[in-house]
């Protein structure tokens, strides 16, 4: 399906769902006001529905919004959005009967940082279809192949077509990709603790503590995040290296076995920090030890939130 065809389909579906009372609001995207942007869009009327679009420039995972909406919500979902929504149901943050997933067969989102590395000239307009991104500025224009500027997370997506978890699907199934082989992590694991520490500190050295990663994360729904607690205050507020580092390490642990690798955290980071490096290590361990991939199943609980009397670990008995 072409982008305009998908857009038409999304708009028709959204209108139908509102009319049938399956949803009070349809959450998707609309065109952004600046080049290479889209805005999350909350469609409640027919006019609102006409603004819904599909785009390669989506940044955040739309499931992030779900725990805040009390009523019936339909989600125009990429595979990762759908997986995160499933995760929220499994973790009892939203009710299954209030959620309607309109899955869209997705072939990945682009990384604006990567685009700007390839094309540093100021971009005044961006046009897109499912395979190419056409950019132009003052007196120039160029065309990039979408696959060359895909987000890292999208290159190893295990759920490009959320056909098993969506309530309905738009678009033909997208060919599956090989999942993350974590090859680089094996090299990292072989390093000394000092080298690993230097590597991880290097990753977050530019962190501003703006918490965009946390706030854009569909897993970070805690009413009060540990970094914001004051009685006691667990963490310093300055740019102290250890405080910043602790925030990222702890957040990664909180997300272990729950993270769907949507890459929302990396996409929103104003400093382009490779935040998924923390999560991938834990993701790999959870997959290895419990054969668990989050967000693909409505029943199975994340391994780190469950207890089994026959657990093989000694300390838990």
């Amino acid at each position: 399906m072409s982008l305009p065809e998908i857009n038409t389909k999304i708009q028709e579906t959204a209108k139908r769902l509102l009319k049938e009372g399956k949803a009070e609001v349809v959450i998707g995207y609309r065109q952004g006001t600046a080049p290479m942007t889209v805005a999350p869009h909350f469609a409640r009327t027919e006019d609102d529905c006409n603004q819904l679009v599909w785009s390669n420039f989506a940044k955040i995972n739309l499931a992030t919004y779900l725990p805040k909406f009390p009523g019936k919500v339909a989600l125009i979902a990429k595979g990762c959005d759908a997986r995160s929504a499933v995760g929220q149901v499994v973790e009892s943050q939203i009710a299954r009967e209030n959620l309607y997933i309109v899955g869209v067969a997705c072939n990945g989102m682009v990384d604006v940082e990567l685009i700007q590395a390839k094309e540093p000239r100021p971009v005044f307009t961006a046009e897109e279809d499912m395979a190419t991104i056409k950019l132009s500025g003052e007196g120039w224009s160029t065309s990039l192949t979408k696959d060359d500027v895909l987000r890292r997370a999208c290159k190893t997506c295990v759920c490009r077509t959320p056909k098993d978890i969506a309530d309905e699907l738009i678009g033909a199934e997208t060919p599956a990709l090989s999942p993350d082989d974590y090859a680089d992590l094996k090299a990292l694991a072989a390093k000394s603790p000092e080298e690993k520490m230097a590597y991880f500190k290097g990753l977050v050295k530019d962190c501003l503590r703006c918490y965009a990663c946390r706030n854009a994360c569909p897993l970070c729904y805690c009413p009060v995040c540990f970094v914001d607690e004051t009685r006691p205050q667990w963490l310093g507020k300055s740019q102290d290296e250890m405080d910043t580092f602790t925030f990222h390490i702890l957040r990664a642990f909180h997300c272990s076995g729950r993270c769907t690798s949507c890459g929302s955290c990396e996409a929103v980071c104003p400093m382009d920090i490779k935040l998924r490096e923390f999560n991938r290590i834990l993701e790999e361990e959870v997959q290895r030890d419990w054969q668990y991939v989050p967000g693909l199943n409505w029943e199975q609980k994340p391994p780190l939130t469950t207890y089994r009397p026959d657990d093989e670990a000694e300390f838990i008995k």
Binding site: A34, P35, P40, K59, L208, N215, Q239
Partner: protein
């Protein structure tokens, strides 16, 4: 005021000379990793070809973390547990080269917050007033630039000591303050020239390519509560994540949080950037929060920029149109759109 040129082959010497033999710290646009930032840098790392620095230059005078005072716990000395100011008597003056006119104007907005008839912040004052700011006018504004929409200009002189533009690979410079004239005239590579005419022409040409003024007449004349209670806030807040990106990259956002930290030897009092997007920014000791949801928090930022600051600063807008928040907001909340909605 005097006008000068610096030829392309004299640029390196000129940039080196800006430190006055190491008396000043030179901050200029240079690559840090893959981002262009306003940073302390070597003369040969400075770039002249850019739209704007990734972050605003406010951290030159208002660092994200600033240690304000410190105490020690050594009871064998005379003054244990007594806070003493840090850094005020040995602050090295800076020279900022290549600051964009929008950002210089942004620093003026912040300056009026840190120094006014009610308060003077000694840390800001010492750093800001001793610095020399040489602006670099924009001849190729970026896609999200709108200084002209909020009363600025790509050639604005507000807050600057001198304004330069790139001419034949080198620089043309106009001194704005007497201090700058004194500072520039003896520097290596600087030659007297007449550039004001060409500068005025360029200003006109670049401004013509930029957006027209954003109409905020009704925001200015309207009652605070009427704007406060407009229905659009809730719609925009739907998608706001309440992250601090917009506030941290904004050249005029100036809010901070004071924190004390100590160990067995002593302690420091520091200030860290804070953000009104965070619920903890306003929560009271009682647990009551006067800005309980993200709608109130998001509204505050725009009310502050577009209504409260103009009320307090003789009509000058609190947004200077650098476009950083427009570029970096993860959910495309665009201050230009919000301004239109507020103006109803």
């Amino acid at each position: 005021m005097a006008e000068y040129i610096v030829k392309e082959n004299a640029l390196r010497n000129f940039f080196q000379a800006l430190t006055e033999g190491g008396q000043r710290t030179l901050l200029a646009p240079a690559k840090v990793g893959d981002k262009l930032q306003m940073v302390e840098c070597e003369a040969d790392k400075i770039t002249l070809d850019f739209a704007n620095t990734h972050q605003s230059p406010k951290s030159a005078f208002f660092p994200q973390t600033q240690k304000l005072m410190a105490f020690h716990k050594d009871t064998s000395k005379s003054d244990p547990f007594v806070y003493k100011p840090l850094g005020l008597d040995n602050m090295k003056p800076t020279v900022l080269f290549g600051i964009r006119p929008c950002d210089a104007k942004g620093l003026v907005v912040a300056d009026k917050v840190f120094q006014n008839n009610r308060f003077t912040d000694p840390y800001w004052k010492t750093a800001y007033e001793s610095s020399i700011k040489i602006g670099l006018a924009c001849t190729a504004p970026g896609p999200n630039c709108f200084c002209t929409g909020v009363g600025g200009s790509p050639f604005s002189e507000t807050g600057l000591d001198a304004l330069a533009y790139v001419k034949d690979g080198g620089l043309a410079i106009k001194a704005i303050t007497a201090d700058a004239e004194e500072f520039l005239k003896g520097l290596s590579g600087v030659e007297a020239a007449e550039v004001a005419g060409e500068m005025a022409e360029l200003k006109k040409a670049v401004e013509a390519k930029m957006p027209g003024p954003i109409d905020m007449a009704k925001v200015a004349s309207g009652e605070i509560l009427d704007i406060f209670n407009q229905p659009h806030w809730k719609d925009t807040a739907d998608r706001c994540l309440n992250c601090g990106t917009c506030t941290f990259v904004c050249p005029t956002c100036h809010c901070f949080d004071i924190q004390d930290e100590q160990n067995e030897k002593g302690g420091v009092r520091m200030r860290n950037w804070d953000t009104c997007m965070s619920w903890i920014y306003t929560v009271h000791g009682t647990g009551h929060n006067p800005r309980p949801t993200k709608t109130e928090r998001m509204r505050q930022r725009f009310m502050h920029k577009l209504k409260y600051i103009p009320m307090k600063q003789d009509g000058d807008c609190g947004c200077i149109g650098c476009g950083r928040c427009v570029t970096l907001c993860p959910v495309n909340i665009d201050i230009r759109e919000v301004a239109k909605q507020m103006n109803g």
